[in-house]
């Protein structure tokens, strides 16, 4: 049994337990700062460990490590690391600076990492629940705030309904394929041409559970409320890490079950189109910037799903690059949202950004970069993601998918550019408070990556393509 392939997960879980213990025995009044610094160190260590993992399988075929899982784990660890760095400032300002916060983020990240390596429904379910259970608590972490607890209740009820449906789907898949491995599902799909109703219902239930987690459209109802109510550092995490992990699972299941590609394809195409259109149109009416980002993330997941719908190696690598660019611009935007603070109170309306171009030009430039990038303006990161995804869709003869995507991204440009207009052309009300070094660091770093994405393109594309080919070949 080759247990060493799960070393990153093992090390991260043990560091989580160690940090929890450290926080409990700490004599000082507040261990939040030291625990956060320790978890940053843990994330960086595990990030390097995850990059050096050799490909292979282990744990009796329950766990797999390949180029694809390595790529996704790197993105997930980066997302967790940046959320923890952002929480350093936000949770102090919000008076939620308990040391359990970084520990919960670590456990949720471990669950997400397990999901990317799952090649068995049991591993998938355990990872998904580990990641979700920690997230339910994180959403209601600001427990004296009615918005935060309400978002926790909503996420808990809908999230556990989705994982219940997922489990029911898994039980049907188990019954009709005789095993819980993805290869058992594939065997049934390739050997029988006529599939039993129970098997198809099981697949659809699993798809519903996973689509809920990436907030793809028929199952997106929870997203705006939860994003608005949860503490902003949690929203940063929620909009990146669990989505990447679920996306990894969707990619692995879809590419494993190659015999079913056509039926999958139609479902995924419909979900992608609905997500893009409803995400872009829903964001127009939003005044609260966190709700706007929720609809924007629904639309972004739709674009990434286009890459998945093609089912080709080019499409999968385009989706991976899209997710990487989404991580950078999304975390950067949330760093700016956390900097929106007047007299120690966080403000969330888009009109609070008025006149930012005059009062804090560095922050305004960073926000403008992220907004232009999300709208897909050429030299920035978001453009390359969209370009590759649409290119893959056209070469897979999914012309109408690309056309609807391009039209919706023009609609989406409206609300991104409205932010830029408010920042530079509206009268300023009052300037924001001085923001901390960690926020400047994250927004500046993400801004550099977003602008210079064309320079880092080559390695990211090479790794993305290696990841995609390791998956398609399977």
């Amino acid at each position: 049994m080759n247990w060493t392939i799960a070393i990153p997960e093992i090390v991260l879980s043990i560091s989580g337990l160690f940090i929890l213990l450290f926080g409990v025995v700490q004599k000082k009044e507040n261990a939040f700062f030291s625990c956060t610094i320790l978890s940053v160190a843990a994330f960086i260590t595990v990030g390097f460990l995850a990059l050096t993992m050799p490909p292979g399988g282990g744990y009796l075929g329950l766990f797999i490590s390949d180029n694809f899982s390595r790529f996704m784990k790197f993105l997930i660890i980066l997302g967790g690391l940046l959320s923890v760095v952002l929480s350093l400032d936000y949770n102090e300002g919000n008076n939620t600076n308990q040391f359990e916060f970084p520990v919960l983020i670590i456990f949720s990240t471990v669950g997400a990492m397990i999901m990317t390596s799952a090649c068995n429904l049991m591993t998938l379910y355990m990872g998904l629940e580990l990641s979700s259970l920690a997230l339910y608590i994180l959403c209601s972490f600001d427990r004296d705030n009615v918005f935060s607890t309400e978002s926790g209740v909503k996420y808990f009820v809908l999230g556990s309904l989705a994982s219940g449906l997922l489990l029911y789907g898994m039980s049907l898949l188990y019954g009709f394929s005789g095993g819980l491995g993805f290869d058992d599902i594939q065997r049934v799909l390739t050997t029988n041409s006529q599939h039993s109703a129970g098997f198809v219902i099981g697949l659809v239930f699993v798809l519903i559970g996973l689509c809920f987690k990436i907030s793809a459209v028929p199952f997106h109802m929870w997203t705006p409320d939860v994003y608005q109510g949860a503490p902003t550092s949690v929203t940063t995490f929620l909009s990146t890490v669990p989505k990447f992990a679920t996306f990894a699972v969707l990619l692995r299941i879809m590419t494993t079950s190659s015999g079913f590609t056509h039926q999958w394809q139609i479902l995924i195409e419909v979900i992608a189109i609905l997500s893009i259109v409803i995400g872009s149109i829903g964001a127009i009416a939003q005044i609260n910037i966190k709700r706007m980002m929720a609809y924007s993330s629904i639309a972004h997941m739709g674009y990434a799903l286009i890459g998945l719908a093609t089912g080709t190696a080019a499409g999968v690598s385009a989706a991976l690059i899209y997710l990487a660019s989404y991580l950078f611009m999304n975390v950067g935007t949330f760093a700016v949202i956390i900097a929106m603070r007047r007299k120690g109170r966080f403000v969330e309306s888009i009109h609070d950004l008025a006149g930012l171009g005059k009062t804090d030009s560095a922050l305004a430039v960073a926000m403008a970069i992220f907004m232009f990038s999300m709208a897909g303006v050429p030299p920035l990161a978001g453009f390359f993601g969209k370009f590759l995804v649409f290119g893959a869709a056209i070469s897979a003869h999914l012309m109408w998918l690309a056309v609807i995507g391009i039209v919706a991204s023009i609609i989406g440009a409206f609300f991104y550019l409205r932010i830029v207009k408010i920042m530079y052309f509206d009268q300023s009300v009052e300037s924001f408070d001085q923001h901390s070094l960690s926020l400047s660091f994250v927004s500046f770093g993400m801004g550099i990556v977003t602008v210079g994405f064309c320079l880092f393109m080559r390695p990211i594309m090479v790794y993305g393509f290696m990841a995609a080919t390791s998956l398609i070949k399977m």
Binding site: V157, M170, L172, Y174, G175, D225
Partner: protein, 106 residues
């Protein structure tokens, strides 16, 4: 002789589909109490467990029962967390009515 071969798989699957339907109905049609929602979620998880055990017995394959052990543990953790979140919510809002959970809309 295994009992499942004398009875057949169909009754088990019917009961579990019925439990799933009751659970879904309890979440969507119930406009009253969050605790009822918690019970409905448990019902959905139990219907999946019943399915897994029935299939495991019919297929003469232990994997399904191992999965049930895991999913029972998770269901326990899930209801503990659910109760904790509902208590935190109750302290802020002084109500566990579902129609009161609507300060965020749009």
């Amino acid at each position: 002789m295994n009992i499942i071969h004398t009875i057949g798989l169909a009754p088990y699957l019917t009961v579990s589909a019925g439990l799933l339907a009751i659970g879904m109905f309890g979440i969507f049609a119930n406009r009253k109490n969050l605790l009822v929602v918690l019970m409905s979620i448990e019902l959905i998880l139990l219907s999946a467990n019943l399915n897994l055990i029935a299939f495991s017995s019919a297929l003469q394959n232990l994997t399904g029962q191992i999965m049930v052990v895991f999913s029972l543990t998770i269901a326990a953790a899930e209801s503990a967390i659910g109760i904790a979140i509902i208590v935190a919510y109750f302290r802020n809002r002084h109500s566990v009515q579902i129609e009161d959970a609507s300060i965020m809309k749009g």
